[in-house]
């Protein structure tokens, strides 16, 4: 029987087949072939696109190569969002592979943060983990860890090593039995094409009456439109890691099993096309 560890594995080993195409605006010395890669859903674009970068730089003159950035259907892709979230948010209805346009100039300063080295990704990733642990354990767990444990989390993600990562991450997923869950659930709710980057509020896994909160409870409070009344048709898809968990799923379980490596539950709310 599948156990919950298999869920963790499935989440970790999720891959999105992606086709990278060099933007038409770029000046090349010869035709640039598209480049195909399986991107890990839980990773970040800047961590996994070295191969594509090298591929395109081969056909470009050195002086034309600026900072690389990605675009999908006119939307610049934020490198500090996990890849799975970017896909769910912007491209969940697309046919695979996911077509990403690669740019080396005209960096959209207003929309993207600069990311010159992977250290920037590491800093962002670690700050997310710390923020999540502040919500879950008042930062107690992350602060008790040694520097090398932090490094192991990062290296685990960078090298796609599930066991290396989870050997440490499991400590971040523990909680005192008597409390039945984390202090607050680290989650973020995203909508495509919304000026507001995301919704993030304090939300406890257990109700004041002692019942476990489920996904429906969370949405009712944060985004009521996503929970249709009984007689109404569904207007939104609620997507995490490319799947739509049932609204009855306890948020504590979701937080433990469907969080991204940054320990946040990144929930995408996608409007369903109207007929």
């Amino acid at each position: 029987m599948t156990d919950d560890r298999d869920v963790l594995r499935d989440v970790w080993f999720g891959r999105i087949p992606t086709c990278f195409t060099l933007s038409q605006d770029e000046i090349t010395e010869r035709e640039a072939e598209p480049y195909y890669l399986l991107l890990p859903r839980v990773s970040y674009l800047m961590l996994v696109t070295d191969k594509a970068k090298k591929h395109f730089q081969k056909v470009m003159r050195q002086e034309d190569v600026g900072e690389m950035w990605f675009e999908y259907e006119g939307v610049p892709l934020k490198w500090h969002y996990p890849i799975g979230l970017l896909f769910d948010l912007h491209a969940s209805s697309t046919a695979l592979p996911w077509n990403i346009i690669v740019h080396f100039k005209n960096f959209p300063e207003s929309e993207l943060l600069h990311c010159l080295t992977k250290d920037a990704v590491e800093a962002h990733f670690m700050s997310c983990i710390k923020e999540a642990d502040a919500l879950k354990h008042k930062s107690q767990v992350i602060n008790e860890m040694q520097k090398k444990d932090h490094k192991q989390l990062w290296m685990g993600l960078q090298n796609d090593k599930f066991d290396q990562f989870w050997a440490i991450n499991r400590k971040l997923m523990e909680y005192p039995t008597e409390e039945g869950g984390f202090r607050y659930i680290p989650f973020r709710i995203y909508q495509p094409l919304n000026e507001r980057p995301f919704i993030q509020k304090l939300f406890r896994p257990i109700s004041s009456e002692g019942h476990p909160h489920n996904l429906g409870d969370l949405l009712k409070e944060m985004f009521p439109a996503a929970v249709p009344p009984e007689d109404m048709e569904k207007q939104y898809q609620v997507v995490i890691h490319g799947i739509e968990p049932m609204l009855e799923t306890p948020v504590q379980w979701l937080s433990e099993h469907l969080s991204y490596p940054d320990n946040f539950l990144h929930i995408s709310i996608i409007p369903l096309p109207r007929d």
Partner: protein, 992 residues
Amino acid sequence: MPSSLLWAVDVHGRVYSLSTAGQYWELCKDESLQFKRLAAVKQCCWGIACDHQIYVYVHSSEVPIHYQEETYENQRWNPVDGFSDRLLPSDRWQWSDVTGLIHQPLNEFELASPQWEWESDWYVDENIGGEPTEKGGWTYAIDFPATYTKDKRWNSCVRRRRWIRYRRYNACDMWAKIPLQETGPLPDPFNDIAVGGWEITDEPLGHLSVWAVTVQGKVFYRENINDQNPEGSLWTEIQTPGEVVQITCGPGDLLCAVLWEGQLIVRDGINRDNPKGSSWKIVEPPNSENGLVQVSVGVNVLWTITRDRRVWFRRGVCSENPVGTGWICMNIEMVMVNVGLNDQVWGIGYEDRNIYFRHGVTPTEYSGKAWKIIVASREHDRASRTGSATSLASAGCFFGDEVRLPSQVSISSEVDFSSEMDKLAKKTENILETIGERASCPHASGGGDGDVASSPDIEKKCADVANVFETIPLMGASSEKWVQPVAEPPVSQAPYLTDQGGPLQDGAELIIAHSISNTMNSDPAETSSVSSVGTYPFGIEEHYVSDERPLWAWLSGGGCEVEAHTQLNWFTAQSGQPFSQLSFSMPISCTQQTVWRKQIIHQLTERSKRELEDFKHYEQAVEQSVWIKKGAMQWWRDGKPYKWIDVRVALEQFTGNDGKRDGIFFIYYTFNDEKKYLHVFSNEITILVPIANETKHSFAIYTPERTKQRWPIRLATTTEQEMYDWLAVLSLACCDSRDLHGPPSNQALWSVTCKGDIFVSEPTPNLEAAQHPLPSDQLYWRQIGGHLCIIESNSQGIVWGIGYDHTAWVYTGGYGGGFFQGLASSTDNIYTQTDVMCVYIYENQRWNPVTGYSSRGLPTDRYMWSDASGLQECTKAHTKPPSQWTWVSDWYIDFNAPGGTDREGWQYAADFPASYHGYKTIKDFVRRRRWARVYHGCTLVQINHLHQCLSVAIIRFGPLPGMEQLSTVVLSLHKILQVIVGTTFHPLPNRS
């Protein structure tokens, strides 16, 4: 309590053992055979292998196993010949046993099996009753049989002497086949085996009762098993009231067997004089619908499994009342149970094939409290492999399944069942119909409610067959007996496939099941051929050796000594740090069955299909390449008890997506029975230093932190070669993770150690610019072959050195050599470097009134053999030249020691330490003398990049370009070492 072993067999027939002190399943040392049954006791383990023959695995012990053969030579006196071998016709044999009844000539003794070896030739025993006899060993008597004395009297008409020969058992720690019996009723292939009975009697030492069941249901007892004769001598058939399927024997006088019809038979009358017992008593199963299939007894307990896979505990079983009083049902489904030597019990879960241990079994509560899963992983799983699947070991961390409570294990819902069925249907089209039939019968799916109306007839048959498969996985079709109840073969497949293949979700598993069923279906005649079918499933073993966790088929705890309070490392997932008092997740068993969970798993599977199935040919964005070197070493424990302890080490290297390789060096050790590890990242290591002058081949690993604490990691290998292998591999790993390749740059920092080893460090561009310059002990220093006293370099990459023999050398720009030979070195510019150095040690003595000067010092004195300071002990034997250098002289007394010596080389002083003089005065209570020995650094392996350069013309004295300070150094070298050192502006070959 010393550690003992739990034995188990997985579904592939591989034998593993788990130590009570350990936490990993270790594959049996002798892997040559696959087994289906095991029966272990402390000193040995009996088993039935895939060839249906019986094997015994005897643990080697300090005392070798000897067996004494003896025979008697008998003679009678007659007036003509005196004593001669001419006996009366009514007399015994000339060569006989002690009673005289059996004819035993010397040359008819043969070794019982190939496992034995004669240890000596025959010799005469010159003892009688502990008293020595006269030479020849004869003992005399009036007639046979009578009292023998060592003295010959006037009326001694007969005499005899004893001949002795020893044979030795040579098959410890391996599976030794019990030879087939040539006489008597030869048992047909064996089906089950049980070992026990060691508590019945002490005589002979190591007595064991071994019982075996053949495929025809006959029971045999193995005679004469004891410490001297681990194999026993022959099989004796024991009559039974019916055909037996399985047998069990407790440590004491409990012996039970299960009949084919499902009843239990209990042996009566077993005692010290009659270990075989006298009669059987029949005990009816708890419910007549579901007979027993398997049973196991201990001293005071009896556990059994019925056809519906339920586990039952028999109340009130004890030596006085072996039949017990009543049944208690355990709410769990199992394949088999096994009772250990002190009534602890283990079982193999029906659905998950995990091994469960019954928690809380005590003399007051033999039935125990709860089942706990043993989550120990296998030894070889720790070796992480390429790919991500099972590199659990990579972080030295393991997390296993949460322990499930028995009441929650067997719950299975309708949804579950039907989805399993769907999966199966796809894979095994040929039994679709059957499944349809079975689908109406949830009982066989593991639900086991029993309240669903179903055809009891079919169900019973199914259960029968299912049981056969369960208890003897892979061997299912190997005898006529097991095929018999299969009235409708198609029906019979279904429960096995449904129950086995479905929950496991394992393609390979299905193949096995399938192949067995096919054999059964296609040709019933074939199934009766034991050998061909019996080994059939093993042929496809190669396809799934990488199974993620073991699926167990059989276990034996008869040799496993655990008490209710024993601390075992079997149940908790293991990690380097002790676990906090937090739980990882909600009890899985509660959530497992819920709809939302199933839906998530289902969706994830769908997602993988959608996003991956058609794109498998795409390149992975992150390459997974892991490279591991493992080994065994000794580690100087940097805490109590401060001694060398055995450790396992592993260097794991992986390539990051930027192409940079990184590594982690793990040291796994056991402390207070707890497995622990420490690890160093290769990019943290600052220097690896071989430590030559020691009894061990050891080296030290420094990191900035460890340098600060003055506690490097000290490791020792068994051979010097191994040490240099590891040093080379670790150095390369460090270089890789710091992106250092090829020769040192022109800006490299060079240094020599007090031992003459040369190290080089690459400065970072901002080394000098930084506000807080990096101290040198935080730089990474890699070793470069060679041996020098002094080294100097300038910013142009010109490196000079002076050896201990005062030869000047220049660096030619090669790299590698030394212990890097063959690993990553350039072939250019590598030359042989030679050096000669003298080491000195001191012999110290103190004067005392009795013996004068002697090596008996005061307790507060220095070592009697020491270095010049007296702080380090330096003996002649343990002082060694540096790596790969050789002595060129023997130790000699140095008469040129500073301060002068007497004619024997002694220097005198009032006390240690003081000033020494070369003559004795009345006040001198101590003396010392200096021993010297010369070593030479020009061995065959010493290839180097320092090129002897005395022939280089002196072009200029003074500062080297770009490095003014060096001028003084050069001048001082000139003064001290009496050689002229110069430099050249012309770049040397291959140096720009």
